[in-house]
Symmetry: C2
Subunit: 331 residues, 2 copies
């Protein structure tokens, strides 16, 4: 296992310590937890936003904690949901009395544990709402999911709901706009290589030397098709076509696009992917309002990418354009 | 070769097209060249900053074109210096009459071609100055270099010289502060895996399954030592010790730190590295003013990292803190 780590059992805690040491102007760690919060949490008069999930998807979600995005992020063990008590700690640390929105990727363990945490918080009088992101159009139902999986589109939910909360909106309003993003964002990914969970020490599955997998999930869950290695243009066409088919855009729609690397795909290749994505969208008379290219929702060191498209309206554009100042996302 | 590309001979042009399509608010491509410039270049009353080199180091250097950093970046073929005429195109596109500073990483081909471009520009009456970045303390002289190699510390030269130029400083003043950064920044890297130049189709060298190489260059140039796989703490100690030994900091010095991923190293591992780096610096009573963790100067999909330390004074701190707004770096 070729990794820059010390003890495989300590990777999450050591990562969190190194993260807080790098970004003390943005974040602090809630003592004796795996919870990262804004340095100024709880922010008075503002709804708190909490997300999280298994580690291994960095910069998700701790990298998005800061002004205009998340108030707190809970890090589970690698590819493992955080426990309800950890999520509860995050809720308590960010609630200013105005309530807390949980942004949950649709994996059975995450949904269950975040819901249990919500119940714990509500029993202590904290208002909690939750939204479930299920942007991955590759498959219905999967290894760890009933229904669609949540992947990189989640970061756009953080951005837009975070901007709404920063404006002083109520919990119901923030929840509403988060659901609006969820209804309008679709993603799909593919992988060239597997990845290795440190405590396992070897890849959880294999992909042949001349193969790739279309529609693979961010934990290596099966996709739609194992194929020979296709060109970037062919891959972009397959992923974007499926996303657009599901999104049903009208001509002249405005969209935000995210080309997301899964961990070891060079930026060069993501931009080559974006070259085809932007050509296809322009060819269909769809207006690209903004494009994000980089690593937002990774799978440890998996090679591959995902493409997300968010249909925008005036409200979403205003919130997308609002200031955000976090370790991994600034506007 | 597992890459998301189309034609290996077209990767640079397709990357540049996809890059400009993603970031039209920041950059444009000078027609029929591999030159990226600020969308508003040449900026009147401002010294122009140009950097560049072989491709494969993304986001360097195009990702740093924008307000407060570079005015232009020239992309050579992968791991190949751009030709003098391309650099000359960049100089012409960014000169507002106040002169142009070339920021060159110390590789023989780059130095030669940027110098030839400077002569071409001067013969047309454009004032040109140049600085050569040689921050890599691993080895004196190397495969493509006489003297030390230039690596990730170059990005801090872009940041600080860019802020100085943005203030309206003269060419001599911008050159001077760039040299001040160069005199005060040191870096060193290591690799766990090789990388594959697309047109070659296979790795240019190999690193055994249980080996890593300390001090390897960003094109795979030999380092100091091929060892068994060490822990993150051991690697951080080797790299940082060599950097600090060369930098000769006094107690209570203020520094900026960059933990840079070479392409396929997960952020998780970079933060684990930073955990040890920050502990070591604090243990030596050195004040960490700011830390940057991420991919700044990559080697296609090489696994590994580099650590850079920049000794700061009040002038450098002010310039480091100044606004920067580019695709890959925002402050």
């Amino acid at each position: 296992m070729k990794k820059l780590i010390n003890d495989p059992e300590q990777v999450v805690q050591e990562m969190l310590s190194g993260f807080v040491a790098a970004h003390p102007q943005y974040v602090r760690q809630v003592q004796n937890t795996s919870v990262i919060v804004r340095v100024d949490a709880p922010v008075q008069g503002k709804v708190g936003l909490v997300s999280g999930g298994g580690s291994g998807h960095e910069p998700s979600h701790g990298g998005f904690v800061g002004k205009g995005m998340l108030d707190g992020a809970v890090a589970g063990e690698v590819f493992t949901s955080p426990t309800p008590d950890q999520v509860f700690e995050a809720i308590k640390a960010v609630d200013s009395g105005k309530g807390v929105l949980l942004i949950i990727k649709n994996y059975t363990g995450d949904v269950m544990n975040f819901e249990m945490a919500a119940e714990l918080a509500e029993s202590e009088g904290i208002k909690v709402a939750k939204v479930i992101v299920n942007d991955d159009v590759a498959v219905e139902d999967s290894t760890y999911t009933t229904g669609r999986r949540g992947i990189a589109g989640t970061v756009l939910v953080h951005k837009i709901a975070g901007a709404m909360a920063e404006k002083g909106a109520s919990l119901e309003e923030v929840e509403q706009v988060a659901n609006k993003v969820i209804q309008n964002v679709r993603s799909m990914g593919m992988a060239l290589t597997p990845c290795t969970v440190p405590s396992a020490g070897k890849p959880g599955f294999s992909i042949g030397e001349n193969e790739m997998e279309i529609g693979m999930g961010i934990h290596g869950e099966p996709g739609i098709e194992r194929t020979e290695i296709l060109t970037a243009n062919e891959v972009a066409e397959i992923l974007l076509s499926k996303v657009l088919e599901d999104l049903k855009l009208e001509e002249s729609s405005k969209v935000a696009v995210m080309v997301n690397g899964l961990g070891s795909t060079p930026l060069m290749e993501l931009y080559i992917m974006n070259n085809k994505v932007s050509q296809m969208l322009k060819g269909q008379n769809i207006e690209i309002y903004q494009t994000f290219v980089g690593e937002f929702m990774t799978s440890i060191e998996m090679a591959g990418c995902s493409i997300s498209v968010l249909k925008l309206d005036d409200e979403l554009i205003e919130l997308l354009d609002a200031e955000a100042n976090t370790p991994a996302f600034r506007k």
